[in-house]
Symmetry: C2
DNA sequence: GATCGTTGTTCCGCTATCTGGAACGGCGTC
DNA sequence: GACGCCGTTCCAGATAGCGGAACAACGATC
């Protein structure tokens, strides 16, 4: 529908997120996402209201998604994500050159601190975790690879944001919705931008229980312009075990790791070549 | 447009894998898969020959995939998987009730044996790993969640196959391509079926370096008909450390874990309810 | 136990969207 | 400077998607 122009492809122009539904594929993905993001199996009607799509259309769409193995329909008629998604994602994850390069540095950082280490990539207003190293005893390994968290209240997120050029930063912060997860979460773009100024100066960012209570971290930005890569590393721990003073001490190690990763990315993936 | 029947949706009816390309969505996914499965960034021409699609069509398809964030086009014009895939998969993985239920049993099995524990689900001729518990020092955690391996040469795969009804088993084995990974890999459906007969009797399966040299395992099937779930658990180790005798001893623990998981799945996800 | 409301499925004419052969422009090579 | 390769763009034609509306199967409600 819309989409008159012709020139511009999709760099960053569409004001909506995806989800709206460019063409047939877009609609199908909107449905897939609606099902994947829900935390319980979705029945036809559930989906019907989350994506505003006529019944007939939705029905066919779901049929196709099931045919393709992206969704599975259970005998109680509800839908849930299929395994094909996992398989597809695995290949894209395991083939990521960036993750691969960063890994040893993450391990080193973990050995040094004994705390959980995250690697995340900025994607619009969210950061998506692409790797994680944590101690055996904690919750569950890798439980959040692929997880998306808001950028404005996470260490990696804020660090990554701090490496953006001013106009890009403005564009992105403008689209944020400042949801107060804890008492300390930023509630406005102004507050966030002020802190980002500091972060830019210091070279590292803190998360002072802004996303989850009792959880804090230090993070540093990894930015490689030549590859459109805006990311961050962090060391995270529970407040009772890790003081802000301790985090401040680790800050330089995190910065160093970030710098080394960025450097190696630049070397190993020369300008002509590519990120993967 | 085939799909005359009416009742059955896509249980297992289409003779082709996916990939061929049912409708528009199918074609788009075939392209996505071609890029995701390749181990380096794909240029337009590369993709052109892997999916047999006219230039014009392919070009538009790629455009849409990029618009949707499923692919990213780099400045050297090559394509690679985008992060949206990872995000989508994360949600589907973390929301899986099955994985969640199985987890404690996997951990217990790991504590008992000290070796790597896998949880995999059968998907046609492949098994897809949905969880993994391994010792800290080994390679990398979770490095193969979402990985797809052939069913005929893995412990979990063979165990899962052994729980299928005969006709279903025949249908699936008929579609397998017996690639000899090691000297001990089954080379024919006949050989595989013979072993499956034994497995069905014993209640557990061994992988005697059939997929990778120096790697072997014991596995047991987890099958819950009411939920169309055909899966398996396994304990895996390197031959130099884990003897076949040792595996035989662990067999009963693996069987027990499998039985308990199946039981809890049945209880927690009562018939009317659902898997997720 | 008849009626109404809800939920999933099917139908079918309409047209938007996808289709794909062909032509175009940019680059590097011989 | 001509040739060949590669990515992109165009456009008439037709397929596949579209979606309003009718239908069937339950389950509540009175």
């Amino acid at each position: 529908m819309a989409e008159a122009g012709g020139m511009e492809r999709s760099k960053l122009d569409n004001p909506e997120k995806h989800g709206a539904g460019t063409g047939t594929l877009g609609k199908a993905l909107a449905v897939l996402e609606a099902v994947a993001m829900a935390d319980r199996p979705q029945r036809f009607t559930d989906i019907l209201q989350s994506v505003g799509q006529p019944r007939g259309t939705l029905h066919r769409l779901l049929g196709h998604l099931v045919d393709e193995g992206l969704l599975v329909q259970r005998q109680d008629l509800s839908y849930e994500p299929g395994l094909r998604l996992l398989k597809l994602a695995y290949r894209s994850w395991s083939g990521s050159r960036f993750r691969d390069i960063a890994e040893p540095y993450l391990l080193r950082l973990h050995d040094l601190t004994g705390e959980t280490v995250h690697l995340g990539v900025l994607q619009e207003t969210e950061i998506i975790y692409v790797d994680k190293v944590e101690s055996r005893q904690t919750v569950r390994m890798s439980s959040q690879i692929g997880k998306a968290s808001p950028a404005y209240c996470t260490g990696v997120g804020k660090a990554a944001l701090s490496s953006l050029p001013p106009d890009e930063l403005r564009r992105i912060t403008a689209r944020m919705e400042f949801r107060p997860f804890t008492a300390r979460t930023h509630r406005s773009a102004a507050a966030l931008l002020a802190e980002i100024e500091e972060i830019r100066r210091d070279g590292h960012a803190f998360d002072r229980e802004e996303h989850e209570a009792e959880i804090c971290c230090v993070a540093a930005p990894i930015a490689v312009q030549e590859h459109d890569l805006v990311a961050g590393v962090s060391v995270t721990g529970p407040s009772y075990r890790v003081s802000m003073a301790q985090l401040a001490i680790w800050a330089k190690d995190v910065r160093k790791a970030a710098a080394e990763i960025a450097e190696e990315v630049r070397i190993r993936l020369g300008p002509g070549r590519g990120e993967r």
